[in-house]
């Protein structure tokens, strides 16, 4: 088609350009519609950032406008110190890092032996794992709290980490299992010939090979743990100083329901880490989630 346009006289070329614009027009209309939709999608975040930099009267008088007249930074100080978001953020970071490490390591180890070895009881373990793939937290929360109470794990960050690590992370184990199973057997045989033991083979050869799986497992666990709410909520009822950001946010809105700038600053502090991570690692987010459908 382009070759015809090139050899055609000028008037024809102009006509074809006009018709191409016309053919593109529906796409631009669609783009405009989508842009409107996307604005709705990011508006709450823009509003939050805007509100965190305004004074309370400015929010109430001029709430639709996102951009503050002159940014007020004291809201962040108030949220960080008086509303304890600094503390909450520290708790969340500790809990998230510890949980991610435990979950990824235990999933990799379990996935490795389930994928590579035939042993008695393997089927039972697999069946139990798959059967509990979809259990909701709302269902298990009462026994979880009861057993945490009896093991003296309630009201401590360690307990929260242990309970979160024991939750449903079955998908990761299955992911590792599938990956390790596809690694050719020759690799294991040559490792054994070189005299590598079980532990050396796993930590020196297999785990480094599984880096792509580890990357998406880390990311997904990070997201799940950072955003967790139900378990941290019931684990910190009598220890406000151990709240994570999501629980702290609920407590803050209950206590100071009129302090919108402080609330917005607290939300901005709590969401910033995940949003930054999202922009940096967007590709892995998308690939990790798309994998759920492709398999």
């Amino acid at each position: 088609m382009t070759s015809i346009a090139r050899t055609a006289p000028d008037s024809a070329r102009q006509r074809s350009r006009a018709s191409r614009l016309l053919r593109r027009l529906p796409w631009w209309i669609a783009a405009l519609l989508l842009a409107g939709g996307c604005f709705l999608w990011i508006y709450p975040f823009l509003w939050t950032i805007g509100a965190s930099l305004k004074t309370a009267p400015e929010i109430f008088s001029d709430g639709l406008d996102v951009i503050p007249k002159s940014p007020v930074w004291v809201n962040y100080g108030r949220a960080w110190n008086d509303a304890h978001f600094g503390e909450y953020l520290r708790n969340t970071v500790i809990v998230t890092v510890a949980t991610v490490i435990i979950v990824v390591v235990r999933s990799a180890m379990a996935g490795y032996v389930l994928g590579r070895y035939r042993f008695r009881g393997r089927r039972v373990v697999l069946v139990v794992l798959v059967a509990t793939l979809l259990v909701p937290t709302g269902y298990t929360i009462i026994p979880v709290v009861d057993i945490a109470q009896r093991l003296h794990l309630l009201n401590s960050l360690t307990g929260m980490v242990i309970a979160l690590s024991g939750g449903a992370h079955v998908a990761l184990t299955l992911l590792y299992m599938g990956y390790f199973r596809r690694i050719p057997t020759e690799l294991f045989e040559s490792a054994q010939l070189d005299g590598a033991g079980f532990l050396t083979t796993f930590f020196r050869i297999m785990l480094p090979l599984a880096t792509p799986v580890t990357a998406s497992a880390t990311l997904l666990t990070f997201l799940n743990t950072w955003n967790a709410f139900f378990l941290p909520l019931v684990f910190t009822f009598s220890r406000p100083d151990l709240r994570t950001v999501s629980v702290g946010m609920l407590a803050f809105s209950g206590e100071y329901s009129t302090d919108w700038p402080g609330m917005a600053a607290g939300a901005a502090i709590s969401l910033a880490p995940v949003i930054i991570l999202f922009f940096v690692l967007q590709r892995y987010f998308v690939e990790g989630i798309a994998g759920a459908v492709k398999n």
Binding site: T132, G138, F202, F278
Partner: protein, 291 residues
Amino acid sequence: MWVWLFLAPTVVLYGVFTVYPIVGSYWYSLLDWDGFTTTKTFVGLANYREVWHDPLFWQAFWHTLLFMLVTVPAQVILSLLAAILLNSPKMPLSRVFRTALFLPVATTTAIVGIVMQSIFDPANGPVNLFVQKLGFDGGINFLGSSHTSLWTAMAVYVWKWLGITLIYWLAALQTVPRDLYEAGSIDGAGPVQLFRHITVPLLKPFTIIITLLSLEASLHVFDLIQTMTGGGPFYSSEVLEIYIYRWAFGATVPRLGYASAAAVIFGLFVFVIGILQLLGVRAARRTGVGS
């Protein structure tokens, strides 16, 4: 020996915090038990009888079902439309749009829920300021009225999770070979015909899987509803997870056995959905083209 050593952390942690609670719930549901530190009394099926006759339980059950029946089709269809547009090479700025639609997925639901309280505030929230600008005086009390609270929660839910189904659909659309479309348009098919005769049949197995994944996800709305409305006003947005929480942790005298009975019924409901999922995936495999 190494095998079991490697499995040990998973078996222990998972056994204590997932498998035991699932089995334990059944035992707990047969007890009269009002607080984690008090004694338990065996009462047989009394809790079940009481749950069965509680209209608020059935209301919460209905809300859970309604939530699923409204949000899943909305989410699946809207995201499919967006995915078709974003998948086209002719679409300008498609990456920017994808990022914007996906952003809420990465954020903390509980925090978004609190922010939404302000966004939908009847007096000063931006949504109502906009509604008033359009000429509706007085605004709408989205979260404070029992007629609108559940529906507002549904809208926020679709807003929050649309991005995830969008990514599912984009992954599915990527499996449709581009030359099929080219061959189709050479044969003189228009965009509607291409969609009907190429896209729809090839997407069928994915449609089943994506719908089932969304069904499953729509049952877990505790974080969003607890932070936005707490199930209120007057239980008008109470779903089953909130009902269980209210009896176990929200009441002044907790009734853990009673809450467990409700949880067991909820668990059976989820189990039925899970079976449906299994059958659906089987059916998808049978008609399967891509997967």
